[in-house]
């Protein structure tokens, strides 16, 4: 049987057994719920949404005022609905019954309670405008001149503290958190899977059937595809809920960031899962795994912690260096890309270094794996594992 077919069979088992496991299904469900809840909460807290009012109007001038207010109100995120009344008493009654939030009747603005401040402001401004226009027209100005006089070009609003930046930082932060969690969870799954095969001794049966490299490749691929799908699903649900709740205005740039996160996950996962596989193969029991895998996890944690100062100052030298070093770049680089602080050359260099590290790491890991996978007993030192790797060549 070819290496490719053997690796494919192993991949299918790793993927199939895990996706069928109740634990995986539950944890995925919980993760999705949490992400959706965060996106929803961000939307509800960050955006008080559009206000809607119904305004009654009785008489030609009142209708003109209400219509003018309706148009100008949209600029303040206010939607006005205008209800016309033919009779003043009816209009007052509707205001009293709160069928309308307020009604313009002659010179009065009537409402059951005192009207909302912003509604009143909009209506007063409209009133001034309509009445001033009327006066100007009476003085002989054409309608268009009157309008021009009353609505000179408005000031262009420009915010200096960029709210879009804050939004991007939020996206970058969530991206780094997702990457960090996904790399740890699925990297450790590889380590645990390798040890499971040793501790249950099924490895001997497997080795009698397929080359050890196919076992390693299949395990890394099967778990990785699962991790990628879960990450894509989580990110998709998060973005969709955030867009729906108004926390985020979806732009094509956000989809670009999603693609970047997935790409760096793939590379970061290949890098870290390979190291995790080594940490698994040098021990024979699950109890010994924590001591051999903790150093790897610590490095990942460090990568995650570096993301915080990078988020604050994405062009610092810490940011530049840590987005090139393969141990931290899978988490740091997507953060910098998300906040828009990484140049194309830097991105290419980071990708290149990471890909090269993986290309060097995989053959080494494969040899360590081959040399150590049948060793049982006390945990091996890295030096012993390397010696075993040399012996297999």
């Amino acid at each position: 049987m070819s290496f490719r077919r053997a690796a494919m069979l192993v991949t299918r088992r790793e993927f199939g057994e895990r996706i069928r496991s109740r634990a995986f299904q539950i944890s995925t469900g919980v993760t999705l719920l949490i992400v959706a809840a965060i996106a929803l909460a961000a939307g509800l807290l960050g955006n008080d949404g559009e206000q809607e009012y119904t305004v009654g109007a009785q008489g030609g001038e009142a209708v003109a005022i209400a219509e003018s207010a309706r148009v100008s109100a949209t600029a303040y995120d206010i939607r006005l609905e205008v209800k016309r009344f033919t009779d003043a008493a009816q209009a007052r009654a509707a205001a009293k019954a709160e069928d309308v939030d307020a009604a313009i009747v002659g010179d009065e603005l009537v409402s059951n309670d005192s009207p909302d401040g912003e509604l009143e402001q909009v209506l007063q401004a409209a009133t001034r405008e309509v009445r001033a226009a009327e006066i100007l027209r009476r003085e002989g100005l054409s309608e268009s001149d009157a309008r021009q006089a009353l609505a000179p070009p408005a000031l262009q609003a420009r915010t200096l503290g960029n709210s879009e930046d804050e939004e991007r930082k939020g996206v970058a932060f969530i991206a780094s958190l997702l990457l960090y969690m996904q790399l740890i969870i699925f990297g450790l799954a590889v380590a645990t899977g390798v040890v499971e095969e040793k501790s249950s001794r099924v490895i001997e049966v497997l080795m009698a059937a397929v080359p050890p490299r196919a076992l390693l490749a299949g395990k890394i691929l099967g778990i990785g595809i699962l991790g990628l799908l879960q990450l894509a699903l989580t990110a998709f649900v998060g973005l969709a809920v955030a867009a729906a709740s108004g926390a985020l205005e979806l732009r094509s740039a956000d989809l670009g960031i999603l693609a970047v996160v997935l790409l760096w996950f793939v590379l970061g996962y290949l890098f870290y899962s390979t190291i995790y596989a080594i940490s698994g193969v040098i021990v024979s029991r699950q109890e010994d795994l924590s001591s051999s895998s903790t150093p790897v996890t610590m490095v990942l944690v460090a990568g995650y912690l570096v993301a915080f100062p990078v988020l604050e100052d994405p062009s610092s030298s810490l940011a530049v260096i840590s987005s090139l070093v393969p141990f931290t770049s899978p988490i740091v680089m997507p953060v910098r890309v998300a906040v828009g602080e990484a140049g194309t050359a830097e991105i290419a260099a980071s990708l290149g270094i990471l890909a090269l590290s993986i290309a060097l790491l995989i053959p080494l890991a494969a040899r360590i794996y081959e040399g150590s996978v049948l060793r049982m007993g006390k945990p091996m030192k890295v030096r012993e594992a390397l010696r075993a790797a040399r012996a297999t060549s």
């Binding site: 049987m1 057994e17 249950s200 001794r201 099924v202 490895i203 001997e204 049966v205």
Partner: protein
């Protein structure tokens, strides 16, 4: 024929194998016996290609065995090994597929062996939910599920109840009858004697006796006689030249005849001593042979 030729292997300072040679003909069951640490497991792992020998080679049908050949062999390791959380039927299908069977064949073979080994009611359970005896049957199914031309089984009988033992013996005989070369290791020598066509005894990394059980008995041991004489005094065989009493019970004695002894003289002496009820060659059991060659 599977042949191990001059295999040597050491682990650091420990010598596991030293020039071990052994043949397993197709269609026969070979028992592989020897004290603990004699090198049985190491030899089996090398035969499977899971382990490399320092020297020597493995031949399959007359040519050096390739990894492809070896991956078709069926293996039951001494340390039982299955994925604890995998369903029995899926596990067997997976192993059949790893040995190159297509989906349909793998599914059919898994179902057939599940049925044959009496674990049908557990087919959809996870391995860890089964009793140890039943896990052992799954383990055997794992070695059989791809219809291997060679079966290499390390201690397949240990931990089996009498019914499991019967099933295992039958299956091994069937596979040999179908032309497979079967070798298994065991410490249960009576069982080996009953199940095997040939026996190989290994000690300190090399074969110290090998052949059909009958042949071994004849060539490896001095001839012995079981004689029962009614009314004879205990000391009747004492003065016979070259004859040694190696066993005695209330009904008779077991005599070992040296090179200068004559069984006809023994018969005469017995007849003089009393009424001869039994005068027969006593063939050593495999256990006796084993002690003889291993302690020598």
């Amino acid at each position: 024929m599977l042949e191990l030729r001059d295999l040597s292997r050491r682990y650091g300072e420990t010598i596991a194998l030293e020039g071990l040679s052994l043949a397993v003909p197709e269609g026969e069951v070979v028992g592989f016996v020897g004290p603990n640490g004699a090198g049985k497991t190491t030899a089996m792992r090398i035969a499977l290609g899971v382990l490399e020998p320092d020297a020597g080679e493995v031949l399959w049908r007359g040519a050096p065995a390739t990894r492809e050949d070896q991956r078709r062999f069926g293996y039951m390791p001494e340390e039982r090994g299955l994925y604890p959380k995998m369903r029995v039927d899926r596990h067997l299908r997976y192993l059949a597929a790893l040995h190159g069977r297509d989906n349909a064949t793998a599914t059919a073979a898994a179902a057939r062996w599940i049925e044959r080994l009496g674990i049908a009611e557990h087919a959809e359970q996870r391995v860890e939910e089964l009793s140890l005896g039943n896990q052992q049957r799954v383990q055997l199914a794992a070695a059989l599920v791809h219809d291997a031309p060679v079966l290499i089984l390390d201690e397949p009988f240990s931990g089996l109840d009498p019914i499991g033992t019967d099933v295992m013996s039958e299956v091994l005989a069937e596979r040999a009858a179908d032309g497979a070369a079967v070798i298994f290791s065991s410490h249960q020598l009576e069982l080996v004697e009953r199940v095997c066509d040939r026996v190989a005894i290994v000690n300190r990394g090399s074969i110290v006796a090998e052949g059909r059980v009958e042949e071994l008995r004849e060539e490896r041991s001095s001839p012995r006689l079981r004689v029962e004489v009614e009314g004879a005094s205990d000391g009747w065989p004492d003065r016979l030249a070259g004859v040694r009493v190696v066993g005695r019970d209330e009904r008779g004695v077991l005599l070992e005849l040296g090179p200068d002894a004559d069984d006809q003289q023994v018969l005469e002496a017995a007849q003089q001593a009393g009424r001869v009820r039994l005068f027969a060659p006593a063939r050593p059991t495999l256990a006796e042979l084993f002690r003889e060659v291993v302690e020598r």
